[in-house]
Amino acid sequence: MTQGPVLLSVRGLRKSFGATEVLRGIDLDVHERELVFIIGPSGSGKSTLLRCCNRLEEPSSGSIIVDGTDLMARGTDINLLRRRIGMVFQNFNLYPHMTALGNVMLALRRVLKKPRAEAEEIARAALARVGLADKAANYPTELSGGQQQRVAIARAVALDPKIMLFDEPTSALDPELVGSVLATMRELRESGMTMMVVSHEMGFARAAADRVLFMDQGEIIEQGPPTQIFEDPREARTRAFVQQINRH
């Protein structure tokens, strides 16, 4: 694959919670239209890495540049930048007092200040894109987990982000609902979205990832194309982790 320009550039990223250092110097470039897949044991810092990339977590040191804008610079309007960085959470985090349409419209109305009619049009298109045009009027409790996660994806996509961060998007789902979310993610990828995905769905990684990162104890241990990481890892730690995952 020919590589596009760098969209997300992370340098020397460190993050500590109190005395424990959770990220110990992460360097990472994500190119336009690239899908970077992140694996690693629980507690290795995957979520923290994603959350630093939109400053839901404040990095302790290092630099993060998104689409040419320094995330950490004083002059950066973080709220303006965040709509360029979509995020999808393990627990969906939909707003239960709003319909699916309301969930998608909120930021369009309050952040982008779109008039109601235009916001609704964009929101309906986003819901249609994730296959939920007919669920616009439903509240989250009336939707299955898979549908809720797709609404959450639509909520991020509607803002026309440059890059999307997925933090274990299918881990909270019943097995039979995982497929619909992965299919939605595949479509996003095919439409050219740049994505960083933390997940245990190795089948998805093999089929859709350009690059797989293996993280352990706050460091990137190894990275490469899916075939290398899954079939012929160089590092012993990677091999042990992949074997353990494959056994499941």
């Binding site: 839901l56 709220n79 965040r82 959470f89 707003y95 007092h97």
Partner: protein, 226 residues
Amino acid sequence: METLLDLRDAFFNLDIILRASPILISGFWMTLKLILTVVPLGLLGGLIVALLYTVPSRAVRWPLIVYVDLFRAFPPLVLLVFIYAGLPFAGYEISAFAAVSLGFFLNTSSYYGEILRAGIESIPRGQVEAARSTGLSKWQAMTWVVLPQAVRNVLPDLISNTLEVAKLTSLASVVALPELLFQARQAQSLTFNATPIMAAAIVYFVLLWPLVRLLSRLEHRMIASH
């Protein structure tokens, strides 16, 4: 039969009602005015208290805890008398209405504040993070995501507290504010008859009963939905 008639004359004396009605009506208006002053002010103060609780700073939190604890522990009657009778000694002349409003503000904003704080804390953090990840500011997330749900979650407590406050406004009679109870007692001592007190009791009931009903229905609905 004789005693029943006596009772009627003492408690439901139509003649007395007619004579006392102007003073009772003025008392009713004063009570209403008091409730409509004290409840919105208390809610506003409570909202500010609850929002200040979300500020992660000790310099904010400690004074807040002192404020809330102090005015929740203070008996409201003592507070009213203290403000009304005490402030003039410090050189501040204050009207009965202002004294009562201030006393109730200090008391009710503390209670409303604790209730709203519990409501705010009942909303999962993840929702705020999702809102912030789409570019909403802290205040926008609070306004559009947290508060609507928080208020709904603690609505029975808010109404229950409002009822309490409405009832407590009768304490104002102690500092000679001519509200309903004060006026009824005036009328009672002028007419040597308990009918004005009875009338006041009925007015309180009619005024507050709709809130009681609403509360009861909400509580049933909350139980049913859990």
